[in-house]
Amino acid sequence: MQEPSIPDIIQLIPLKSYLILSTALFVIGILGVLIRRNAIVIFMSVELMLNSVNLLLIAFSSYKSDPSAQVFVFFIMAVAAAEVAVGLAIIVMIYRNTRTIDIGFLNKLKG
Amino acid sequence: MLTILLILIPLVAGLLTFFLGGSNAKIIALAGALAELATAVFAWTQFDPAAGAQFGFQYDWITASGISFAASVDGISMLLVLLTTFLVPLIVLSAFGHNYQNPATFFALILFMESALVGVFTTTDAFLFYFFFEVALIPVYFLAAVWGGENRLKVTFKFFVYTIFGSLFMLVALVYLYYQTPGTHSSAITAFYDLQLTPAAQGWLFWAFFIAFAIKMPLFPFHTWQPDTYTESPTPATMLLAGIMLKMGVYGLIRILLPITPLALNQWGAVAIVLSVIGIVYGSIIAIQQRDMKRLVAYSSFAHVGLMAAGVFSTTLNGMQGALIQMLAHGINVVGMFFIIDIIFSRTNTRYLDHLGGITQKTPSLSVYFMIMLLGSVALPLTSGFVGEFLLLAGVFEYNNWLGAAAGLTIILGAVYLLRMFQKSMFGATSVNTEHFQELTLSERAVLIPLTIMVFWIGIYPSTFLEMTEPTVNQLLRFIHN
């Protein structure tokens, strides 16, 4: 018996479901950014947003039989990794200076 | 070609004054201003009133956009150029008696201002007009803000923001008009005349222009910057403001507002005239209550310009011609009066009427000059103010009798506050301040004598100037009424 190809497996689920799932993940990410006070958690929420995009792109890609979105996903993953490196460095730098990563304590700048 | 010279001479003279001035700044500035006057008089001798716009100059400025550096002189421009070039040397001369700090900068700014003013009065390109209109503001702002009185910062700031705010409306209107012109667009003022605009568009354009010019003049209710600014500015700046810059507003009404939005005039002209007339009465009444001479003349100037605007909005030949000749006369009178107030202030350190008195006994000559300027302002027959006010009132009467009657109050009220000022400062017993009042110096006489000559010239033989402007005005009116 031949193994079903990955696009076939992906297409077992209707496109609309992918759309709803990734939108839900995306909204959860947005809410996380807006509500949480801990820099790391906010950061994780951003990652969640990015991954919801990845999921969506893969789903579209399979349904359209077009590889370009999968290439895009690789780019997103690579860039997100670079961003994580810089982001964590900034958070570590702040932790060294203030011993906290709660953004509520960041009030040196008025506004 | 003459036009470009007229714009460039003061600019170059200003730069020379600024860089080479030093202790001789005032001499260089005076020489520059006189050279400019000579050029203007020469242009006047060559000027043919019937020939329309002359001495044209055109240079493509922003080639792709059809914006060019274009200027020429017609009757109305000629009159205002003469006024400007006549007054500036006197204004420079009037500053000789003072020791202003940084004289090089001070006199250079006056000359830059002259260049911008001549630019406003001669340009035939709408954007260039806006450009000069704005640029004229900068030197006078610095003059007032650096060399002004105690409250200068607040006051000049208000003045600056107010007038820039107004001219921004004009900018919107000009940009809009520019994009209405056919083809690759043109910003020549005459191209704007030829546009077939809907009444609705003309309506808002009318107000956009009106606000810009009304703030500059100023008309009621946009006048609140004016008395403070006039009072706080050093006298040369006040003279520039009242004598010439105010005319930019009236000129704008004639050159831009009326011909571009003639249809809106039927709809809104009445409102504009009523505002002007309110300004006349309001300004006069407040002037009566003033005790500071400079403030008093500021309010009187506000009242007079209201009458000019009313005459312009009446769009009659009399009203227009009156406004033009009155611009000339008012420029001369108001500069004379501010100068006399400055003389009094420099000798007594006060401008308050209650602290003055009896100056006639000390310097009869000053009080004679003062009287002549006053009578010119009050519009006594045979003095400069008479012709203008007479024609203006005739124009407003043609428009509407009631408004004419209200505007006529200006003569009566004007006589009240001006003569009261004269009586309080010149007659009566001398006060502590005026006891040691000194005779006029040579340079002061050099300012007052030309002004006096002009007061009588305009009063006795106004045709010199009226004939110069009449063909242009007639042409304009024919255009507006069609």
């Binding site: 906010i42 995009v53 792109l57 506004g111 | -």
Partner: protein, 462 residues
């Protein structure tokens, strides 16, 4: 295309130069590299539109001109960075390299033909800016600014990406022409509208348009001033070039759908930027709000989207960048001294008596403020003029009226600075400025005045 390759490579060279004993070579080397890139940029001038890397990147006169603005701005800013040498903590080689790399991102944004390039360019530029913002490591204000910038930037990227994914879902393509072709077929899917909206939000975050502007004042204030200048000019220019490219190449077919959204955002941006700027005491914060307001003016041109728009944006970006560099350039020597709290002198009072202390700086400051306020005889005036012109051509008069009112408000806060410099008495401590620094400021001032008097010189170029 050449500057992308050149700067990627030369950036690495700068990093290696950092190993040299003397740090003195870094600044001239970086300037030289920028000059090389500038020359390389204009090699392709007037050769029409060239497409590179399998439809990833386009080069034409417009993109080259934007590249030129970015490069010249960068050149001026780098030339003003002498301060690094005094600071032991600083790592100049890294800073210069990061600046060069970030320019590569800017070029990619300016010339992108594929949304992948837009994303990559944006990220290269942004990540570099996060690092530079936090480069003053011991300073809490810099730390805080970096974190805020980073979190908000990453957040905006997420939104942008989701928008791109939706656009892809609707059109099946990441290329500008593909999207345009899809819209040309008519009857676009709702995914397209949602995608466009999210992409717009993501981009507007980056160019700090209201209501997505809230990070701007804090980040601008906290970042080291030299990098604030970098952010305010290069990121904004590249951001608007990208927005223009996106909207004009792909979405003109559904103009009726997005113009009103953009118009509302424009009005909000103008109101927020100008009105809040009035209430600022800190010059740097004022400039942050002023940069928001200038984003508003640029958005007017985008909203109108007429054939004039590209030139309007180009001229406005140039005028704004040059004037902003001057403004920050004057602030840097004035604010140098630091109080105990690590708070430099950045209020308006810092300018008191500047005209007497250092007339040259005062003059430069005045011209830049006049230009930002849009007073005639400065380049800023023509920038506003062209922008307002495109709105008038489209006939959106109400937008113009708001813009006019707000530029009048703008005059108020810009003039406060001039007044402080000229009319207030201040301390008499002499302000020393290096000759090279002076040359940069004077050149920028001359550019502002030159294009203010003869804007045709610039508009004739493109």
């Amino acid at each position: 295309m050449y500057p992308i390759i050149l700067l990627s490579f030369l950036g690495i060279v700068v990093l290696f130069l950092g190993f040299a004993k003397s740090k003195a070579i870094l600044l001239p080397a970086t300037l030289l590299f920028l000059a090389v890139a500038l020359v390389g940029n204009f090699v392709e001038w007037n050769q029409g539109t060239i497409i590179y890397f399998y439809n990833m990147l386009a080069v034409n006169n417009l993109t080259l001109a934007f590249n030129g603005i970015v490069l010249v701005s960068a050149f001026m800013i780098v030339a003003m960075t002498r301060g690094f040498q005094d600071d032991d903590e600083a790592q100049p080689a890294e800073y210069y390299a990061i600046m060069l790399f970030s320019l590569v991102g800017a070029f990619m944004m300016i010339g992108f033909e594929n949304l992948i390039m837009l994303f990559l360019g944006l990220e290269i530029l942004s990540v570099a800016m996060y690092v530079l913002t936090g480069s003053d490591k011991r300073n809490l204000r810099s730390n805080e600014a970096a974190l805020k910038y980073f979190l908000m930037g990453a957040f905006a990227t997420g939104i942008l990406l989701f928008g791109i994914a939706l656009l892809y879902g609707a059109t099946g393509s990441f290329t500008l022409t593909g999207i345009q072709a899809y819209i040309g077929q008519g009857n676009p899917s709702y995914l397209l509208y949602g995608g466009l909206l999210l992409v717009l939000i993501g981009m507007l975050f980056k160019v700090s348009a209201a209501p997505f502007h809230f990070w701007t004042p804090d980040v601008y204030e906290g970042a080291p001033t030299i990098f604030t200048a970098f952010m305010a000019t290069i990121v904004k220019t590249a951001g608007f070039a990208a927005l223009f490219r996106l909207l004009s190449h792909s979405f003109t077919g559904i103009y009726d759908y997005w113009w009103i959204t953009l118009a509302v955002i424009t009005v909000l941006t103008l109101l927020v930027g100008n009105i809040i700027a009035v209430y600022q005491d800190s010059f740097k914060r004022m400039l942050a709000y002023s940069s928001i307001s200038h984003a508003g003016y640029l958005l007017i041109a985008l909203t109108a989207m007429t054939p004039q728009t590209e030139n309007s944006i180009l001229f406005y970006s140039m005028a704004y960048s040059v004037a902003t560099i001057c403004a920050f350039g004057v602030l840097i020597p004035l604010a140098r001294e630091k109080a105990m709290t690590g708070k430099p002198r950045e209020t308006y009072e810092a300018f008191n008596g500047l005209a007497r202390n250092n007339p040259l700086l005062a003059f430069v400051l005045t011209v830049s403020m006049l230009s930002l306020a849009g007073i005639p005889l400065t380049a800023g005036f023509w920038g506003k003029f062209f922008v307002f012109g495109s709105a008038a051509e489209r006939g959106i008069i109400w937008l113009l009226v708001v813009a006019i009112l707000m530029s009048a408000v703008g005059i108020y806060y810009y003039f406060r600075v001039i007044m402080a410099a000229y009319m207030k008495e201040g301390d008499t401590a002499e302000i020393r400025v290096a000759p090279f620094y002076k040359i940069v400021l004077v050149t920028a001032t001359i550019i502002t005045l030159l294009f203010g008097i003869a804007p045709g010189l610039f508009t004739g170029l493109v």
